[in-house]
């Protein structure tokens, strides 16, 4: 069933989608976009024009929207806009083009914003894969006290408290935030490299080193 949105002409369709992405504080997902344009918007202010689309059977509305976003991006590029729409944190959002991001990044206040310590990255990786996870569990994996780093990550809004675990002391459980996805340019947690694959890779690496070692040893013996 096609509603009024699909009866609007293409330019207005593009503009509505661009408006929604532009106005949203968080990356807006395909589902949300669809729900809004099909069920929630009031188009009465816009002149409705039947476009050729009504005569075409739309099989895959998601695909139509994705194509529309692609078209908006071409328009933005062609009209020299310094920003574009990117897909991140399960949705679409505006971000600077590389060359202008670079200029912006030269501002003194941004200088340290993208710097992460080894401890922060390690802890984030553990939380990203194992969430919801408590601090004692993080510390068991890292083998070291992690209070400060958890605090820093909370302060930087990269992780959040998502509840308490029903064990002694009811410790907090932590999970990653939208800010985490945005910072690392991840669209979905499932995009992270598979843990089992990493494990296998490391096992291969470890055994290969062992192999090299053996060969070295044999060579030495010869």
């Amino acid at each position: 069933m096609l509603n009024k949105f699909w009866n609007l002409n293409k330019t207005i369709q593009k503009q509505i989608i661009e408006t929604l992405i532009f106005a949203s504080e968080f990356p807006i997902s395909l589902d949300e976009l669809l729900d809004i344009i099909e069920n929630k918007l009031d188009f009465s202010g816009l002149v409705e024009q039947a476009s050729e689309i009504t005569t075409i059977e739309i099989n895959n509305v998601e695909e139509v929207i994705m194509n529309t976003i692609e078209e908006i991006n071409s328009d933005l590029q062609n009209s020299n806009r310094p920003y574009k729409i990117i897909k991140v944190a399960n949705g679409y959002t505006f971000a600077t083009r590389n060359e202008f991001g670079k200029i912006l990044g030269s501002l003194p206040k941004f200088r340290n914003k993208k710097r992460f310590s080894k401890a922060m990255l390690e802890t984030l990786a553990i939380i990203a894969y194992k969430q919801p996870i408590t601090k004692p569990e993080i510390e068991e994996i890292r083998g070291t006290n992690s209070s400060e780093v958890v605090n820093t990550l909370l302060e930087r809004d990269l992780i959040k408290i998502v509840g308490r675990k029903d064990t002694v002391g009811r410790p907090f459980m932590y999970g990653t935030t939208i800010e985490f996805l945005k910072t690392f340019g991840i669209s979905d947690l499932s995009e992270l490299p598979n843990l089992e694959e990493i494990r296998t890779l490391i096992e291969i690496k470890n055994t290969r080193e062992e192999l090299t070692l053996k060969i070295d040893f044999e060579e030495e013996n010869n």
Binding site: F22, E25, Y83, I86, T93, F94, A95, T96, N98, E99, G101, K102, L104, G105, L107, K109, F110, K114, F116, K118, A119, L121, E122, L124, A125, I126, A128, Y129, I141, R142, G143, T144, N145, L154, E155, D157, K160, I161, T177, K182, T183, F184, G185, I186, L192, P193, L195, I198, R199, L201, I202, E203, N206, T207, E209, E210, T212, L213
Partner: protein, 241 residues
């Protein structure tokens, strides 16, 4: 004078992995005596440099020494122990797990490189604009922000000399055990001495505790006259004497 460059380790596991990599050690067959020596030398060096050694390093040192001791047991004795499980097994597993997340964090770091020049809308917070005062305080909030806001108010109030009234958890049980404890050391204790400088709630609590102890037959209470002090004696001691 020359400088010593000390590599930074995220903890004892990180340090062990460093040794394993540097010395091309087979992680599945760690020469425990050698690595224990290396580990201890490192700790010694840290101490000499007057760097505080975190407790987890000390714990790891003792774990390593324990494993080393087990490895030194003669084989027959080892067999007697539970099917002679390799004492290194747990440590190796821990190292492997940690290695997996180190690798995963490497991949996060690669993401950062890719995101280096990407900035989102609204990321720049104004410094000099007079508008910032009006708008700046608007921010998305998490449980952490909420808790922090509360904490800051409490701290501010404390600085202003405001007393946060804590609901004191005075328990009868505490008063009872306190009286009994005193009576194991002292021959007797007077009610007035017990309640000296105590708040009204505590006085009431002690009184209730005394009634309870008398009822349970654990103490005797004597009063010389109607308005006189009350003296408490332990029943067991009373009979012994």
């Amino acid at each position: 004078m020359y400088k010593i460059i000390l590599p930074i380790f995220e903890g004892p596991l990180d340090l062990l992995l460093y040794f394993i990599k540097r010395d091309e050690i087979n992680i599945y067959d760690i020469p425990i005596a050698r690595i224990t020596d290396e580990f201890l030398n490192y700790l010694k060096m840290m101490k000499e440099l007057d760097i505080e050694v975190a407790s987890e390093f000390v714990v790891m040192a003792s774990t390593l020494m324990e494993i080393k001791a087990k490895m030194l047991l003669p084989i027959e004795k080892k067999d007697e122990l539970t099917q002679s499980e390799d004492p290194r097994k747990e440590l190796v597993q821990q190292l492997l797990d940690y290695q997996v997340f180190k690798e995963a964090s490497q991949s996060l770091e690669n993401n950062l490189e890719f995101m280096q020049n990407i900035y989102y809308r609204g990321i720049y917070e104004s410094d000099i604009s007079e508008l910032s005062a009006k708008f700046k305080t608007y921010k998305p909030a998490s449980v952490y922000d909420l808790a922090k806001a509360f904490y800051e108010i409490i701290k501010r109030k404390e600085e202003e000399g405001f007393q946060i009234i804590k609901i004191a958890e005075y328990k009868i049980e505490d008063a009872i055990s306190n009286i009994l404890e005193i009576l194991t050391k002292e021959q007797q204790i007077s009610f007035q001495k017990l309640c000296l400088n105590e708040k009204k709630q505590i006085v009431v609590l002690y009184f209730v505790a005394i009634l309870e102890l008398v009822k349970q037959g654990k103490i005797y209470a004597y009063q010389s006259d109607l308005n006189g002090d009350i003296f408490l004696f332990s029943v067991s001691k009373f009979y012994k004497n």
